[in-house]
C-alpha cells in the first residue's frame, strides 16, 4: 500500500479521514473490531488537530514488524501550538478545550503502539500502530 496524506483542516476532513482509515484497514485485512478501533482513533486524533492546531495532516502507511507482523501506522502531525504538558494531556479526563479528555488516553488504549512528540510553538506528532492479530 502506498503512503497517503490526508489534509486535516475542517470538521468535514475529520469524517473524510475516518472513512479513509476504515477503507484502508478493511483492505489490509483487519477484523471489524480493529477497523472500528482504528476509525475511532482517527476520528479522535484528527479532531484534536482541527480543534487545537487548526490544520495538519494524517499520513497512512502499511507497517511490518521485525517479527513479520503486518499492520497499519497512522501519523497525525501539525505545526500548531504544541502540547504544554504531554503527561497531563494523556491523563483520563483532562482537557483544555472543554472536551471529555478521553481522546488521547482512549486512543492509546485502542492501538498497539502509541507515540506522542510535541514541541511548544512548533507542533505535535502522534504516531500509532495497530498490528493485524
Amino acid at each position: 500500500m502506498e503512503n497517503r496524506s490526508i489534509p486535516l483542516e475542517t470538521e468535514r476532513d475529520i469524517a473524510v479521514a475516518r472513512n479513509e482509515v476504515r477503507n484502508i484497514a478493511s483492505q489490509l485485512g483487519f477484523r471489524i473490531i480493529d477497523q472500528t478501533r482504528l476509525t475511532t482513533v482517527a476520528s479522535e486524533l484528527a479532531r484534536n488537530i482541527v480543534k487545537y492546531a487548526g490544520r495538519g495532516r494524517l499520513i497512512t502507511q502499511s507497517a511490518s514488524s521485525a517479527t513479520g507482523k503486518r499492520g497499519l501506522r497512522l501519523i497525525f502531525e501539525d505545526e500548531g501550538p504544541g502540547i504544554a504538558d504531554v503527561d497531563l494531556a494523556m491523563r483520563d479526563g483532562y482537557s483544555t478545550g472543554g472536551g471529555l479528555g478521553k481522546g488521547l488516553p482512549g486512543s492509546k488504549r485502542m492501538v498497539d503502539e502509541f507515540k506522542i512528540e510535541s514541541i511548544a510553538g512548533q507542533g505535535t506528532r502522534v504516531t500509532v500502530v495497530r498490528w493485524i492479530h
Binding site: 470538521e11 468535514r12 475529520i14 469524517a15 473524510v16 475516518r18 472513512n19 476504515r22 471489524i32 473490531i33 477497523q35 472500528t36 478501533r37 476509525t39 475511532t40 476520528s43 479522535e44 479532531r47 483520563d92 472536551g99 471529555l100 478521553k102 481522546g103 488516553p105 482512549g106 488504549r109 485502542m110
Partner: protein, 142 residues
C-alpha cells in the same frame, strides 16, 4: 456519508424516533441535537429513541452528544433510549472510557419502545391508530 444525508425525526405516539443512517460530521451532530430538542418542545413528545444500528463508529464527540441529548431531554421531562449499538462500537466505547451517562441502551427498536412504555409509561402505541407523523428532516447545509 459525511453528513450529506438527511436524518429524519419521526413522531410515533409520544416518542420521537431518530434513525441515524449516515456517518455524521460534527456539524450534523450538533444540528441533530438542536433539532431533537426543538421537536421535543414543539410536539410534546416524552421519549426519544435514537437508532444507531447503522453507525459504524461512536467517538467521544458523538458519545457526548448522546449523553447531552439525554440530559437535556430529561430536563424537558423526556427519556432517551439508544438502540441497536453494534458490538464493535460497544467495545470501543468502553476502551475510550465513555460511560454514556443517563442514556439507556437496548438491543433493538422493539426493546426500546417496550422500555419507554414499561419503565416510564411513555407509549408509542396510540400512533399506530393515527399513523406515523413525519415531523421534519435534516438537510445539511452545503
Amino acid at each position: 456519508m459525511n453528513g450529506h444525508g438527511r436524518i429524519p425525526i419521526l413522531k410515533v405516539g409520544r416518542v420521537l424516533v431518530v434513525p441515524i443512517q449516515v456517518d455524521m460530521d460534527d456539524q450534523t451532530v450538533l444540528l441533530l441535537q438542536e433539532r431533537i430538542l426543538t421537536e421535543l418542545e414543539r410536539t410534546g413528545a416524552r421519549g426519544v429513541l435514537i437508532d444507531i444500528s447503522l453507525l459504524e463508529m461512536v467517538d467521544s464527540f458523538i458519545g457526548r452528544m448522546l449523553s447531552d441529548i439525554a440530559a437535556m431531554a430529561r430536563i424537558m421531562d423526556a427519556r432517551t433510549v439508544v438502540v441497536g449499538m453494534q458490538p464493535a462500537v460497544a467495545i470501543t466505547l468502553v476502551e475510550l472510557g465513555l460511560e454514556l451517562n443517563g442514556v439507556d441502551t437496548v438491543l433493538n427498536v422493539d426493546e426500546g419502545i417496550k422500555l419507554l412504555r414499561d419503565e416510564f409509561g411513555i407509549g408509542a402505541e396510540e400512533a399506530f391508530d393515527g399513523g406515523l407523523n413525519f415531523v421534519g428532516e435534516q438537510i445539511n447545509p452545503s
